[in-house]
C-alpha cells in the first residue's frame, strides 16, 4: 500500500503538472507533490521498521534494509530540492533565461524523474530497473538543455548519447543474467526478480554471470560516473539548471551505484571469489585519483563540484569493492552524507552564481560580505565535503581509510594523496570566493536557505550521532552486501 503511494504520487504529480500547464502556483504544487512523496516514503519506512522487508504487486516491487534508506533519502532530497527550486527558478525567470513553456516541462519532468528513481530502487525486477534507469536519463536530458544555449545543447547531447550507449551495455548484461538464471529458475517472470535470484545465486553458471557483471558494471558505471566513463557528468552538471545538478549528483549517482552493488552481491554468490570486488576497487580508485587531479584545473564552479561527485562516487565504489561489514557500512554512510552535502553545496552555488551572474570562479568574490548565509553555507558545505570533522563525511572516509590500511595497504597512499589534492584544490578555490571585496548583487526573490542548513545539520548530526535504527539498517544492509 505505502509502496504504491510512494510511486503513485510523483507519477500523478508529473502528469498533473504537464496537463495543467505553467501556472503561477506550479512551483508550489511541485514542492507539495514532493512533500507528499516524502510523507509516503516516511510512512513506508515506518512500516518497514515495524514489519521488516516485504514485497508488493505480485513480487514486482520489494523493500529491504538496503533500499529502504535510499528511498527515504531520495524522497527527502527531492523534497528539499523542490523547495530550493521554487525561488531559484523564479529568479531565473525574472532574469529572462526561461519562459512559461519551459518551466512547465521542468516541473513535470522533475516529478517524473523522482518517480523513475524511486522505481529503480523499489523494483524487484532487474529488467524494470533497467527500464527505469533509462527513463531517468530520458526525463533529465531535456532538463539539461533547458536554457537552449549552444553549450547546454552540446552537454545534453553528450549526456544522452553516452548514457544511452552505456546503459545499452547494462541491458546486454541483464540479458546474460536472465540467460543464466533461466536455467535454474525456468523461463518466465521469476528469473529476473532479485529476491528469487538471491535465493539461487550459488547455482548460477559462473562464466555467464561474470561476463554479465562486466557488462552491468560498464553500463550502470557510466551513470555512476566512474572514470573513464565519466565524460558526460561534468558537462551535464555545469550546463543544466542548478536544482537538476543537485538531484543528478545527490540522487541519480546513488541510484546507479545501488544497481551495481545489487549485481555485485549476486555475482559474489555465483563465483565465490572476489572478482567483482577487485573490479570495483580498481574503478573506484581510478575515479578517485583522476577526479581529484582534475579538480584543480576547473574554472567553472559547478564543473568543479561535479568532479568532486566523481571523486566521492569513487570512494564509495572502492568501499563496496573492499567488502566486509565495516567497509560496506562506510559505503552506505558515505552515500547518505555525500548526497546531503553535495545537494546543499549546489543550492548555495546556484544562488551564488545568480548573485554574481557567472559560474566562473575567478569572477565570484566576497560572497560573505553581501550575503553571509550563502557565503557561510558554501564554506561549511565545502568543509563538510572535504571530510573535516565533525561532519559525517569524516566518519565514513575515516572508516574507509582504516579498513583500506588494514586489508589493502597498497591502496592507502593513493587514497591519502587523492584526498589531500582534493582538499587543496577545493579549499583554495572556495576561500577567495567567499572572503574579500564583493561582486554580488541583490536577488529579486529571497533565496532558499532552509534546505542548505537542514542538510548540513543532518550531516553534522550523522557525524556526531547516528540514530540506532539507522545503524541497524546499515548493519543489515552491510551484512547483505558482505
Amino acid at each position: 500500500m505505502e509502496i504504491t503511494l510512494v510511486l503513485g504520487v510523483p507519477l500523478i504529480g508529473g502528469l498533473l503538472l504537464a496537463l495543467t500547464g505553467h501556472k503561477r502556483y506550479a512551483a508550489e504544487l511541485n514542492a507539495l507533490m514532493s512533500l507528499a512523496t516524502f510523507v509516503a516514503a516516511a510512512l513506508l519506512t515506518g512500516r518497514v521498521i515495524a514489519d521488516g522487508p516485504m514485497t508488493a504487486l505480485h513480487e514486482q516491487l520489494f523493500i529491504d534494509p538496503f533500499n529502504v534508506f535510499l528511498v527515504a533519502l531520495t524522497a527527502l532530497v527531492a523534497f528539499t530540492t523542490a523547495l530550493f527550486s521554487r525561488p531559484y527558478m523564479r529568479i531565473e525567470q525574472h532574469h529572462g533565461r526561461l519562459n512559461a513553456a519551459r518551466l512547465r516541462l521542468y516541473h513535470s519532468m522533475y516529478q517524473l524523474f523522482t518517480f523513475m528513481m524511486l522505481l529503480c530502487l523499489l523494483s524487484n525486477n532487474v529488467g524494470v530497473l533497467w527500464v527505469a534507469m533509462e527513463g531517468a536519463t530520458l526525463t533529465t536530458v531535456l532538463l539539461v538543455s533547458l536554457y537552449r544555449t549552444p553549450a547546454s545543447i552540446e552537454a545534453a547531447w553528450k549526456y544522452f548519447i553516452l548514457c544511452s550507449v552505456g546503459i545499452a551495455q547494462a541491458l546486454f548484461g541483464t540479458i546474460l543474467l536472465y540467460f543464466a538464471a533461466e536455467r535454474v529458475l525456468g523461463p518466465g517472470g521469476t528469473a529476473l526478480l532479485w529476491t528469487h535470484l538471491y535465493a539461487v545465486r550459488h547455482q548460477l553458471e559462473p562464466t555467464v554471470v561474470s561476463l554479465a557483471f562486466v557488462f552491468l558494471l560498464l553500463g550502470f558505471g557510466t551513470k555512476v560516473g566512474l572514470v573513464p566513463l565519466h565524460n558526460w557528468l561534468p558537462d551535464a552538471h555545469a550546463e543544466g539548471p542548478t536544482p537538476i545538478s543537485a538531484v543528478l549528483s545527490g540522487l541519480l549517482l546513488n541510484v546507479a551505484l545501488y544497481a551495481v552493488v545489487r549485481s555485485k552481491v549476486l555475482v559474489d554468490g555465483a563465483l565465490g571469489r572476489n572478482f567483482s570486488g577487485d573490479l570495483m576497487m580498481g574503478f573506484g580508485l581510478l575515479s578517485l585519483v583522476v577526479a581529484a587531479f582534475f579538480l584543480s584545473r576547473q574554472k567553472d564552479i559547478k564543473r568543479m563540484f561535479a568532479y568532486s561527485s566523481i571523486e566521492h562516487m569513487g570512494i564509495v565504489t572502492f568501499a563496496f569493492g573492499m567488502g566486509g561489514p565495516v567497509a560496506a557500512f562506510a559505503g552506505l554512510l558515505h552515500m547518505t552524507v555525500h548526497s546531503l552535502t553535495k545537494s546543499a553545496i549546489f543550492f548555495t552555488v546556484g544562488h551564488a552564481s545568480q548573485k554574481t551572474g557567472t559560474q566562473n570562479m575567478a569572477d565570484i568574490r566576497g560572497l560573505i560580505e553581501q550575503s553571509p548565509t550563502i557565503g557561510w553555507g558554501l564554506v561549511l558545505g565545502s568543509l563538510a565535503i572535504l571530510g573535516m570533522p565533525p561532519f559525517g563525511v569524516f566518519t565514513s572516509e575515516f572508516m574507509v581509510l582504516t579498513t583500506a590500511m588494514h586489508e589493502h595497504p597498497w591502496a592507502t597512499p593513493f587514497l591519502l594523496v587523492a584526498l589531500g589534492v582534493a582538499f587543496a584544490a577545493i579549499f583554495g578555490k572556495v576561500q577567495p570566493m567567499v572572503f574579500g571585496e564583493t561582486t554580488a548583487r541583490r536577488l529579486p526573490h529571497p533565496p532558499a536557505l532552509v534546505p542548505v542548513f537542514l542538510h548540513l545539520a543532518l550531516v553534522l548530526l550523522l557525524g556526531l550521532y547516528i540514530p540506532p535504527y539507522l545503524v541497524e539498517w546499515y548493519r543489515q544492509a552491510a551484512a547483505f552486501i558482505g
Binding site: 527500464v131 544555449t149 553549450a151 547531447w157 518466465g188
Partner: protein, 218 residues
C-alpha cells in the same frame, strides 16, 4: 538441425551482414532503409523462435518489432530528414575500408567472448549470442566513426536491434513487462532525438557534431 533452427541462423547471419552494410553506407536514406530491413529480420527470427518454442508472448514481441522498428521509427526518421532537408553524404572519421577491418576484428572478439557461453547453450542459441554481441559492437563502432547527428542515432537504434536479438533468440525472450518497457524507452528516446535535431540545427546551423566541441575536456 531443424528447419526452424536453420532459418534463425540464416536470419542471424543476415542481421550481421546488415550491420556491416550500415558501417559502409554513406547515404542517410539508405541507412534508414537498412535499419528497417534489420528490424524486419529481427521480427522474422522472433516469430520463428515463437513458433518453434510455443511461447505466445514472443508473437506479441515480433508484432511490436514490426510496428516500431519496421514501421514507425523509420517513418519518423524519414519525415525528420525531409523536414530538416539533410540528404548529404556522410563523412566518416576513419575511411571505410579501415572501418570494415576494425569491424571484422570486433566480430572475432565478440565470438571469442561468447564461445564459453555458447558451449553450454541449447542448440538454438549456439551461434546467435555471438552474432548479437557482434552486431551490438558494430553499431557501437558506427556511432563512434560518424560525425553527424542522424547516423549516430541510427547506430543507437541498430544497437537496440542487436540487443533485442540477443533477448529473443538467445534466451527465448525476456519477460513481457521488460520488453514493453524497453520498447517504450526506445520510442520516447527516438522522439527526444527528433526534438534534439531541431535544437542542434537552430543553435549550430548544422547537424555536424564537430561544431559541438566547445566543452573541452578539462
Amino acid at each position: 538441425m531443424s528447419l526452424a533452427n536453420q532459418i534463425v541462423n540464416l536470419l542471424a547471419a543476415l542481421l550481421l551482414l546488415i550491420a556491416f552494410a550500415m558501417l559502409s553506407q554513406r547515404r542517410i536514406l539508405t541507412l534508414i532503409k537498412l535499419l528497417a530491413w534489420q528490424g524486419g529480420a529481427l521480427a522474422a527470427s522472433t516469430a520463428i523462435v515463437a513458433y518453434s518454442t510455443g511461447q505466445p508472448h514472443l508473437y506479441f514481441s515480433a508484432g511490436l518489432t514490426v510496428a516500431l522498428k519496421v514501421g514507425l521509427i523509420p517513418w519518423v526518421l524519414h519525415r525528420l530528414i525531409d523536414r530538416l532537408n539533410v540528404r548529404w553524404d556522410i563523412e566518416t572519421l576513419i575511411n571505410i575500408p579501415a572501418t570494415m577491418l576494425i569491424g571484422i576484428g570486433l566480430v572475432i572478439f565478440a565470438f571469442a567472448l561468447a564461445t564459453p557461453i555458447s558451449q553450454m547453450a541449447s542448440v538454438f542459441t549456439r551461434s546467435t549470442l555471438g552474432i548479437a554481441l557482434a552486431s551490438v559492437l558494430l553499431s557501437f563502432l558506427m556511432m563512434i566513426v560518424r560525425r553527424k547527428a542522424v547516423p549516430q542515432v541510427i547506430g543507437f537504434l541498430a544497437m537496440e536491434n542487436g540487443l533485442f536479438f540477443a533477448a529473443t533468440s538467445a534466451t527465448y525472450g525476456m519477460p513481457l513487462v521488460v520488453e514493453l518497457g524497453v520498447a517504450l524507452d526506445v520510442l520516447v528516446g527516438t522522439f527526444i532525438f527528433g526534438i534534439f535535431f531541431f535544437h542542434i540545427r537552430e543553435q549550430f546551423d548544422s547537424l555536424d557534431i564537430r561544431h559541438m566541441e566547445k566543452l573541452k575536456q578539462d
